[in-house]
């Protein structure tokens, strides 16, 4: 993945959230994003993602491997990394074991 950029904007320097996430790099998080549901070739699912943060940039983070909590296949790992814009994150929780089973309804 791309190397971390040198902080170059005032925003970056002041973004504590960004720094918080940088500190979580290499750990596993559970992230829920904004929309009601997503639709991938007809398979619908709530946007609940779990995985290791492999990259953090000022506007997004990237998870890989990333487990999408599809209700009928909750252990499914998406074939590629997925980047999530910060502004689409509804909420997240750090240090989450992606193998944990929990209700998704």
């Amino acid at each position: 993945m791309t190397s971390e950029k040198n902080p170059r904007s005032i925003g970056e320097l002041e973004d504590r959230f960004f720094r918080e996430l940088l500190a979580l790099k290499g750990t596993s998080v559970l992230i829920v994003t904004e929309s009601d549901q997503l639709n991938l070739f007809g398979q619908t699912f709530r946007p609940i993602f779990c995985g290791e943060i492999i990259d953090v940039q000022p506007g997004h983070l990237t998870l890989f491997p990333v487990n999408i909590k599809i209700i009928n296949a909750p252990q499914f790992n998406f074939p590629t990394p997925l980047s999530i814009p910060f502004e689409k994150i509804a909420h997240f929780t750090p240090d989450f074991d992606c193998n944990e089973r929990f209700p998704l309804t």
Partner: protein, 102 residues
Amino acid sequence: MSHENNIAGMNFPTVNVIHDQALVETFVEGIGKNIFILTPSYPFVFIGKLVDVIEDQAVVDVKVTSISELENRQWFIHIHQIEVYYIQQKGMPRIPELKTNF
């Protein structure tokens, strides 16, 4: 067109603006690469090559979406409507191809 962090007229950009602008920059850096995009809006998925970024719109040569009739054309995709995406990187997994002849 500018991709600089020049947020005109705002002395104190909010953190949201900073995130949004940084996201646009990521897309600018990805120009020329393959991209996978999921959005809650129809037709939900775009796969293709990121060819340009115009303000906050990603221009994608779309090879695959959920609807075949909407493929093989350029789509202007509002970057800030994208829920999750992947810009293909060296050393990381390729975006799979949909098999059409199995």
